[in-house]
Amino acid sequence: MMPAIPNFIREVAVVQHNEPIAQDIYLMRLYAPRLATACGPAQFLQILTDSGLSPFLRRPFSVLRADRTAGWLDLIYDVIGTGTARLSAARCGDSRDIIGPLGNPFDLPKSKRVLLVAGGVGLVPLAFLAWEHPDRLSDMIYLMGAATAARLPDMSALLPPDLPLYITTDDGSAGQRGLVTERIAEHAMPNHTTLLTCGPHRMMARVAAIAAELNAPCFAALENHMACGFGACVGCAVEYKTYPTEDRRYRYVCLEGPVVNAHEIVW
C-alpha cells in the first residue's frame, strides 16, 4: 500500500532575511507561523520560487530550524539553477507561496552513537534533527564535508553549540583534507552506531556502503528531482531492492521519504 497523502497546507511566507553564508550558499529566514509549527527534521517545503511560469514547478527545500513561538523558519540553499537564483534575488518583505510540510521526518535512533554525515547543503535536515534533541547531543557526532573552505558556512552559527563537529574539505582548505566518508570508521562504535546522512547522491551511496560493512543501520534523506512533492505525479521514483508486488518496485521520495532506509534502496 502507498502511504497516505500528507495533510499539508499552503502558506504565503514573508522573507525576513536572505544573505549568502558561503560561496553561492544562502540562508533565508521566512515568516511562516503555520509551517514553522508543523515542520520536522528532513521534512520539506515546496516553494514557488517565481510567481510567473519560469521556473514552472515548485522547488523542494528542507528546513534548518524553526522557531515555533516567533513563527519563523530557516532554509539554506545552494544556487545551482533558475529556481535557486530566483530565491537568491528575494528581498526582505517579499513573499513566497509555499506548500508543506511534506515527507517524513528523521527519527532520532535510540543507539548509543548517532553519526550525522552531511555533505554540502545536505547539512540542513541533520542540523534540524540536532536542534530538536538537545538532550541527546552527547550521543551525536556531526561529520561535515564540503568541497573547499569558500563553500563551507560558519557551522557554529548553524548547529547547537554542544554538538561534536568534525569538518573535512576535499582540498584541505578547512578542517581535515579528504572526504567526509573517510571519517566514519574512526567515529563508529561497533554495534552501537546508527548513521544518518544527507548530501550528494554519490556521497550518500558511499555512506550506505560503509554502514553495510559496519553492519550498522543507516538512513538517508534523499534529494531526488520531484514535480509535485505530494504523491500525485509519481515522478520521484526510487527503486527498492526487494518488493512484494511489481507496483511497489519504485516508491516515491515525497511520500515514503525523503528519509529512507539506505540498505533497502538501489543506489
Binding site: 497516505a4 497523502i5 514552472f56 514547478l57 509535485c228 500525485a232 521514483a237
Partner: protein
C-alpha cells in the same frame, strides 16, 4: 442585475451529467480518494482516476519527469497496482466520494480493454469509463490505438458491446488529423470524447549528451501545450456531436473558459495541480464568477458559443 446561481451542470457523455464542468485529469490526482484530505471533492464536477492496466506495472526507471518551459515532460510509464488490486482497494473509498468518479483503463488489445471494462459492470458508484488510447508511455498499447482511425474505432466498439457504463475515449494529439480519429471513435459508439493527452517530447542533457528521461521520450503537458490543445478541442467539437471534454495546460478560469467557448462541455485540470494543488477550486469559482458577470444563466449557453473573428 447579476445572476446569483448560474446553472453549471453539464452533460459530458450520453447518460452522464456533472454538477459543474471542472474535473481532475487522469494520472495527476492519484486514485482520487486519497486527495479527499486536500479539499472537498464534492465541490468539483468529477475526477478521473490514474489509468489502470490488467497487470500491475512498476513504471519506468527514473528520472521520470523533467521541467520544460511552462510545462514538463513525464515518462511515468503507467505505474499502477493492476485491475484486481484497484477494484479491491481503490474502488470502495472512491464510491464514498460525493463526486462523479470515472475510471481510466488501458489495455494491450481490444479484448483486454473489453475484459477490463466488463469488470466494472457490477460495481456501484462508477460514473463512466475513460479509455486511455493515448498514453505515449506504454509501448505495448496506449497510443497505438489512438493513432489509427480503425484501431480507435474498433476498441471503442468492442468495449461498448460489453460495458453498461458511459464510455469516454481519450485521444492523443500525436496524430495528423485528430478530428478524423474523433469521428471514428464516435462512430464506434463513444458516449463522450476527452482530449488531449500529452504531446510526445524529449529533452537532452548536453553536458552528458544523454536523454534526461530514463525512457528517452515522454509526454509534454502544462501551460506550454494549451494553444495546441485548444485548437484540437475546437476541431473535434466541430466534427462530432457527442460531448467533448477538453484539457491541456489549463491553469486558470480564463483558460478553462476558452475551452468551453471552443466547444468543450467540461474541462480537466492536470499538471497545474502539481504546482497549485487547489487550482481546480479556483478554476471553478472563476467560471461561476464569469457566468455571473456575463449574465450567463446556464453554462450550456457558453459551451461552443464562439463568435466569428472580428
Amino acid at each position: 442585475m447579476t445572476i446569483e446561481h448560474p446553472d453549471l451542470s453539464t452533460k459530458i457523455a450520453e447518460g452522464l451529467i456533472l454538477r459543474n464542468p471542472v474535473m481532475m485529469a487522469s494520472g495527476t490526482f492519484g486514485h482520487g480518494a486519497e486527495y479527499a484530505c486536500l479539499f472537498d471533492l464534492g465541490k468539483i464536477g468529477g475526477l478521473v482516476t490514474k489509468t489502470i492496466t490488467r497487470h500491475p506495472r512498476a513504471g519506468n526507471p527514473p528520472p521520470r519527469t523533467v521541467e520544460t518551459p511552462a510545462g514538463m515532460l513525464n515518462a511515468i510509464g503507467l505505474t499502477n497496482p493492476g485491475i484486481d488490486a484497484f477494484i479491491a482497494e481503490k474502488i470502495p473509498p472512491l464510491t464514498a466520494l460525493n463526486t462523479a468518479c470515472i475510471v481510466s483503463i488501458a489495455g494491450t488489445s481490444d479484448l483486454e480493454f473489453a475484459d477490463m471494462a466488463a469488470r466494472f459492470n457490477d460495481l456501484e458508484g462508477i460514473a463512466a469509463l475513460e479509455l486511455n488510447i493515448s498514453s505515449p508511455n506504454m509501448k505495448d498499447g496506449g497510443m497505438l490505438f489512438g493513432c489509427s482511425e480503425r484501431a480507435a474505432h474498433n476498441v471503442t466498439r468492442v468495449v461498448k458491446a460489453v460495458s453498461q457504463l458511459p464510455i469516454i475515449v481519450k485521444l492523443t494529439p500525436n496524430v495528423t488529423d485528430i478530428a478524423a480519429i474523433a469521428a471514428a471513435v464516435e462512430e464506434g459508439g463513444a458516449d463522450g470524447i476527452a482530449l488531449i493527452n500529452t504531446l510526445l517530447g524529449m529533452a537532452i542533457d548536453i553536458d552528458a549528451r544523454r536523454p534526461i528521461l530514463g525512457n528517452i521520450t515522454g509526454g509534454l503537458s502544462g501551460p506550454a501545450i494549451k494553444p495546441v490543445a485548444l485548437a484540437m478541442v475546437w476541431k473535434v467539437a466541430n466534427r462530432v456531436s457527442v460531448p467533448v471534454i477538453g484539457m491541456g495546460g489549463i491553469a486558470t478560469a480564463r483558460d478553462a473558459i476558452e475551452f468551453l467557448v471552443a466547444g468543450a462541455s467540461a474541462i480537466q485540470v492536470g499538471t497545474t495541480t502539481f504546482v497549485h494543488p487547489f487550482a481546480a477550486l479556483e478554476v471553478l469559482n472563476g467560471i461561476a464568477n464569469y457566468c455571473k458577470t456575463h449574465q450567463i444563466d446556464r453554462i450550456s449557453d457558453l459551451i461552443g458559443n464562439m463568435h466569428p473573428p472580428a
